[in-house]
């Protein structure tokens, strides 16, 4: 016993001393911070003609299960792209790039992207501002907007005034909290009177469905909205993202560094083309149901009928012109993104307002319609 004691004590002591020695060393040579630039040497050497025989550049896209993002999973299934590294689908071959699909939970996707483990990510216009703080980003396309897919569901609370002072559970610093506050503002209430506290959306929905009396109100997203409303007769949608049209935008975002890599813009074009090729399948009578079933299999295992409801609550930008309209219109640029930016600063997602730009590429976060427009100009089959 004595041995453990002395050894654990001496370990702590040596650890502390190690830190002390390190501290002295760093203080002593504190200004050696600017290391010689060595990273630039190899960036230009791989250039040359982009002939079809050149090995394809590899890009990773992190996606989580959500209606307009699960589309990429289905695109892998129908062979438009092949999500495995080293294998290529038809669109990948066309652009001579290799897309690797990374399926992860939404939070993990943000971390993967923010920490440069993925070139591109499926993310909302709210969370991306936080990530842009660690990585300059370019939104290449909106995929969908929430029109009822985020909702405040209550039991035993029939009006907004009754909700005041009662806790609503949901994910803090997220789309849920943004939607919660914005809806209350729109309804003329002061969000400060409505407590919002942290809980994982899935757990909140489960607790609500299990009739936990301490959880009378939840603010969650789909599929939890749909499941929670169905699970109890007394469940009631108090308000939803329908009240704030086109404020919550699901998008595909590429890191500015990745977009600048060789083949980066081809990757962006391929992603855009994949998304619209899948939308065509969804709008075509013949392939519509099969595509919806495919998306449903990658979104909480929902069946066809449920998926038909889901796509009304998550409205797809299935027309590229509509997508361009959103990114270029004044409301989005001057109002929506300012509101989002204010929210992010208020809750510490970002320290200061993120510098936004719309197609100029100057900002830390750029909303670029170049790839959408190029897709529109392509000769159609």
């Amino acid at each position: 016993m004595r041995r453990t004691f002395t050894s654990s004590r001496s370990l702590v002591a040596t650890f502390m001393m190690g830190i002390a020695v390190f501290g002295i060393a760093t203080l002593g040579c504190g200004d050696s911070k600017s290391p010689a630039k060595s990273g630039t040497a190899n960036s230009g050497t791989t250039g040359g003609g982009s002939t079809a025989t050149a090995p394809p550049a590899k890009f990773t896209l992190a996606w989580s299960e959500y209606p307009s993002w699960s589309i990429f999973g289905v695109a892998d299934e129908v062979g438009l792209i092949d999500g495995k590294a080293g294998a290529m689908g038809s669109i990948e071959k066309k652009y001579n790039i290799d897309i690797e699909l990374l399926l992860a939970s939404y939070d993990q996707c943000i971390t993967l992207y923010g920490n440069s483990q993925a070139d591109a990510v499926c993310i909302t216009n709210i969370d991306i501002l936080g990530a842009a703080g660690s990585r300059n980003s370019v939104a290449i396309m909106p995929t969908s907007t929430s029109a009822g897919a985020d909702a405040c569901i209550t039991a035993g609370i029939k009006s907004i005034d009754e909700l005041a002072g009662k806790p609503t559970r949901g994910l803090e610093k997220s789309v849920s909290q943004y939607c919660f506050e914005r809806c209350l503002e729109k309804l003329g209430k002061n969000p400060a009177d409505f407590p919002f506290s942290q809980m994982d959306p899935e757990q909140a929905a489960q607790a609500f469905q299990g009739k936990d009396e301490k959880i009378p109100s939840i603010m969650v997203w789909n599929p939890f909205v749909m499941q929670s409303v169905r699970s109890r007769n007394d469940a009631h949608v108090l308000f939803s993202s329908e009240s704030i049209p086109e404020e919550i935008i699901d998008m595909v975002v590429v890191g500015k560094d990745s977009l600048g890599k060789k083949g980066g813009s081809d990757f962006a074009k391929a992603v855009v083309e994949t998304f619209y090729a899948m939308n065509q399948r969804m709008n075509d009578e013949k392939t519509r149901d099969a595509t919806l079933v495919g998306i449903g299999a990658r979104f909480a295992k929902l069946e066809l009928e449920d998926m038909k409801t889901v796509v009304t609550q998550t409205r797809f930008y299935s027309d590229p012109k509509d997508a361009v309209r959103l990114f270029t219109e004044e409301k989005f640029q001057k109002e929506t993104m300012l509101l989002v930016s204010k929210f992010c600063v208020k809750y510490g997602l970002t320290q200061a307002p993120v510098e936004l730009s719309f197609g100029t590429g100057k900002g830390v976060m750029d909303f670029d319609t170049t790839f959408l427009k190029e897709y529109l100009e392509q000769p159609k089959k």
Partner: protein, 272 residues
Amino acid sequence: MIRREIPMWLFLALAIGGVVVLLVSYELLSARQTRINPKQTTIPSFAKLSEGLQKIFQPQGTEENPKPPMFWNDMRATLWRLMVGLGIGVSASIAIGVLMGAYRWIEAPLSPIVMFLSKIPPTAMMPIYFAVAGTDQRMFTSMVALGIFFSMAQSIYQAVRDNVSDESINKAYTLGASEMEVIYEVIWKQILPNVIDCVRMQIGPAMIFLIAAEMVVSDAGLGYQIRMQSRVLNMNIVFVYLVILGIIGLIAEFGLVRLRRWLCPWFEEGAR
């Protein structure tokens, strides 16, 4: 040669050197990442980490609605949950473990159950706790308490059976001790160091499922903060919290070993 002694100064120098190498290579790695992406927050430099350290002690909330600094708020929540859970779990497992070791007719019905349940990882049972015990203090307490209860009751029961000899019990009986006196004066006092060691071993697992649960259902606590801050990519705060978790573990380990030495000076590790 295996286990050949090295001089004390060399041992110390190598130990300090190890820590220094770790810290220096961390800082170099951070500098390398920063060169690739100047805005990176993945591997924060020590300057960024100290920013994070300051930030967790800054008061939160707005002027009209001030909140305590996140560190105190989270520490209070996590430690309270841990302490209450450990307190209940340890007392219950001592009671059951000792009784099982002392009386065959308690041992017989309980030992198969305890042995089986101690093998189920408590984190796997999280959904059950959420469903049965709600999502507030009661849930965290019952989770920590039950999470450590079965394996601790199992070890205490074994300690009573293996470490308390029949001779010492018979001696106490011969000297006129009552049943309660045998349990307290002979059994309890002999297994006390094992109990302290058990608690020491269980703090790690208790922290694992407490943190895991906090990440999912809590609105305060170390686990909650680690999840939220990694979500907004403030890795400097996440790293500081991880270091804090390490320090909590060291303090608990150190304190319990000291406690055992103080309460049971007769106990030697090698004697078991």
